[in-house]
């Protein structure tokens, strides 16, 4: 069942945006309140849950696993590089809990779309994560191109969208950033035993390391063009009234890590420039504020665990927090 919007509602939103006043009282460039929590799921290497306003809710789990480096037999130089790196695999799933339209197979296309956007931004140097640090054993070439006995860490993210009230992508990126901050990669020791590589994974929690380069992870800001102005952080009704959407992915330094335009309308070049600049400034501000709170949260949780005497599990609020 598609949600519909009437002409009067569309007009209402249009005029509101022009006067810098939206339905919930925000200005054009105001974000809703972000609530998040990390470390909810004990079976994951890292996890976080983030809620935007009172609606959109995303849960991210990060699992670190050992996997084989896949070398697809292309040129040697390219393979050389690939052979020394880990890999990031993303997966987004919108559950029907979030919205009726995601029930059954309705979410498949949307899931694929979101997954592709994430893979685009997270695989590659722009993601900032030091993939080489994730590599355990660099590629050893027995025969010229095809043979490999190499192993590297893979990292899997899985994002679950639990509640939908507009602006899913921004929330997903913020939650992923929090989850990656929370992730710990267990230490591994490589030993050569009788010519065979043996890898021992240390289970010691204290030895696990944080992911190198997590601060460089970009976040995304979705800008919606309504009329001749643009807004950020749209609610579902506002999303229905948008003509074109621009996703700008920006990192801490203000460098742009990815861009994607979607929607049926078109954007004039001057407005496009303006939107990109807005996305950059706002993105940087969000990252700064978010990082401060991330660090604070970790310090608080460490404090409460040391107070409790180490062994006792931290009572994460998770879903028990007041809605």
């Amino acid at each position: 069942m598609q949600t519909l919007i009437s002409h009067s509602e569309r007009d209402y939103i249009l005029h509101g945006v022009e006067s810098n006043l939206r339905a919930d009282g925000r200005g054009r460039l105001d974000y809703r309140q972000v609530t998040f929590e990390t470390g909810l799921i004990s079976q994951c290497s890292g996890s976080a849950r983030c809620r935007l306003g009172e609606g959109t809710d995303v849960l991210v789990g990060v699992k670190v696993e050992i996997g084989q480096i896949e070398v697809d037999g292309a040129e040697e130089v390219v393979n050389d590089k690939k052979a020394k790196r880990g890999r990031v695999v993303c997966n987004v799933e919108c559950s029907p809990i979030a919205s009726q339209q995601f029930a059954g197979r309705g979410a498949e296309d949307y899931n694929n779309e979101l997954t592709q956007i994430m893979e685009l931004i997270f695989n590659g140097p722009q993601a900032g994560i030091d993939l080489e640090k994730l590599c355990i054993v660099p590629g050893i070439w027995r025969d010229v191109i095809h043979y490999n006995i190499v192993v590297a860490h893979n990292r899997y993210h899985a994002e679950q969208v639990l509640d939908y009230a507009g602006n899913i992508l921004d929330t997903i990126f913020l939650t992923t950033r929090a989850a990656l901050y929370n992730t710990r990669v267990p230490k591994t020791i490589v030993q050569e035993v009788e010519g065979m590589m043996e890898i021992e994974v240390l289970d010691d929690v204290q030895e696990a390391e944080r992911i190198v380069g997590w601060e460089q992870i970009p976040i995304a800001v979705t800008l919606n063009k309504i009329g001749s102005r643009h807004i950020i952080d749209a609610t579902p009704l506002e999303e229905l009234a948008t003509e074109a959407k621009l996703l700008v992915s920006v990192n801490k330094q203000g460098k742009i890590c990815g861009m994607q335009k979607s929607g049926e309308g078109s954007i004039e070049p001057s407005l496009l420039n303006e939107m990109i600049q807005t996305g950059r400034t706002i993105g940087q501000k969000i990252i700064e504020a978010f990082d401060v709170r991330l660090r604070e949260e970790e310090v608080e949780s460490l404090k409460s665990s040391s107070r409790g005497g180490g062994q006792i599990n931290i009572q994460k609020l998770g879903f028990f927090a007041a809605t």
Partner: protein
């Protein structure tokens, strides 16, 4: 960090994982997680966690976490699913890829998942009063966020809470529990390690007040003599779970009601303030009369949280009240005449003569 204390270890891909045959019950009578044989895992639950859904619930049983959302009753999405005399109940289950210790993405059409969803659906069909909502659909969406054994039981418990939160009429709660049998003792509430071992496992769902069984599943072998003790243990477990779920729902209801009362008190104080500012003009003074009666009623019932000032109805009412008395009298006489005319047809003849 605590979040890395997990049971499964990460195994490198080219050495096969070694399954150590652990003792499920040590000589001291304690299980792997330190519980006794008749001890349930710790249950934490909360209804109304989602805003979009009509009803929702989140429940944690030990390390297994489940989120349930209920939408309905509403129009069915597919015309083929319309049943003419009752509501169609649709259950969808999904596992998050990070829910198990090895990351595994399970498709929604995985046979095992469909089987569990179908079991949950059949459990609720006799319990929900579906014949009150013909040609409509009730959707139950279940999401397992973390898995440590007991899928069916946690899905049923979560769905019960979510259905109650949505206000779907049901005959009774449905509470489910698993039980097993190892080392010659019936054991309650199995976790993942105990389930994956060779011991028999029984899942039971009952209606607590009547003790009726709506689901009974067992996929392993168990001797008939031992079956009864295992069944009784599981039933006791269900009743204990019922108390926990019931308490959680009632607490949540109390919070919701007290919040609503506070809200209405605030509204009434605001309206009184507005009245003092002569917000209503004279034309609406009749309607004022009724509202003032309501305020006074409210104040007398909820004297705890409402404001101190007594509301004085404005005194400029006498003319209006006289007119209203006369009109009601005329109406009453007219009605009586009308009734007499109907009952005694001759009477109309008499009235006609009188008027002449």
């Amino acid at each position: 960090m605590e979040n890395l204390e997990k049971e499964g270890k990460i195994f490198p891909q080219f050495s096969s994982p070694t399954m150590s045959r652990q003792e499920l019950l040590n000589p001291a009578g304690l299980r792997i997680d330190g519980r006794r044989v008749t001890e349930l895992r710790k249950i934490k639950c909360k209804p109304s966690v989602l805003r979009q859904a009509d009803g929702s619930a989140y429940i944690e049983q030990g390390n297994t976490k489940c989120l349930a959302a209920v939408y309905g009753p509403r129009e069915p999405r597919l015309k083929s699913q319309i049943i003419h005399d009752k509501a169609n109940i649709n259950v969808e289950l999904s596992y998050a890829p990070f829910s198990t210790s090895e990351r595994k993405k399970r498709a929604k059409t995985d046979k095992r998942i469909l089987e569990i969803a179908s079991a949950v659906k059949q459990t609720f069909e006799p319990v929900i009063l579906a014949n009150l909502f013909p040609r409509s659909q009730i959707d139950i969406y279940l999401q397992i966020l973390q898995f440590d054994g007991g899928t069916v039981q946690i899905c049923i418990n979560a769905a019960t809470m979510a259905l109650i939160d949505a206000g779907v009429p049901m005959r009774d709660y449905v509470c489910a529990c698993t039980a097993g049998y190892f080392e010659n003792e019936p054991v309650l509430d199995l976790n993942n390690t105990e389930e994956s071992s060779d011991s028999p496992e029984l899942t039971v769902a009952i209606l607590p007040k009547s003790g009726k069984v709506t689901l009974l599943q067992m996929e392993s072998r168990l001797q008939v003599e031992k079956f009864e003790s295992v069944m009784n243990l599981a039933t006791e477990g269900c009743k204990a779970i019922y108390k926990i779920l019931d308490k959680s729902i009632r607490d949540n209801m109390k919070d919701a009601i007290s919040n609503t009362i506070k809200f209405y008190c605030n509204v009434s104080t605001l309206l009184k303030e507005a009245e003092k500012l002569h917000y209503y003009d004279e034309a609406d003074s009749e309607s004022n009369d009724e509202e003032s009666d309501e305020y006074q009623e409210f104040e007398s019932e909820n004297s705890i949280c409402c404001s101190e000032q007594n509301y004085q109805p404005s005194s400029s009412q006498p003319n209006n009240s006289n007119i209203s008395i006369i009109t009601t009298l005329i109406l009453i006489i007219g009605i009586f005449l009308g009734i007499f005319t109907l009952l005694r047809p001759n009477f109309s003849y008499w009235i006609a003569c009188l008027s002449w």
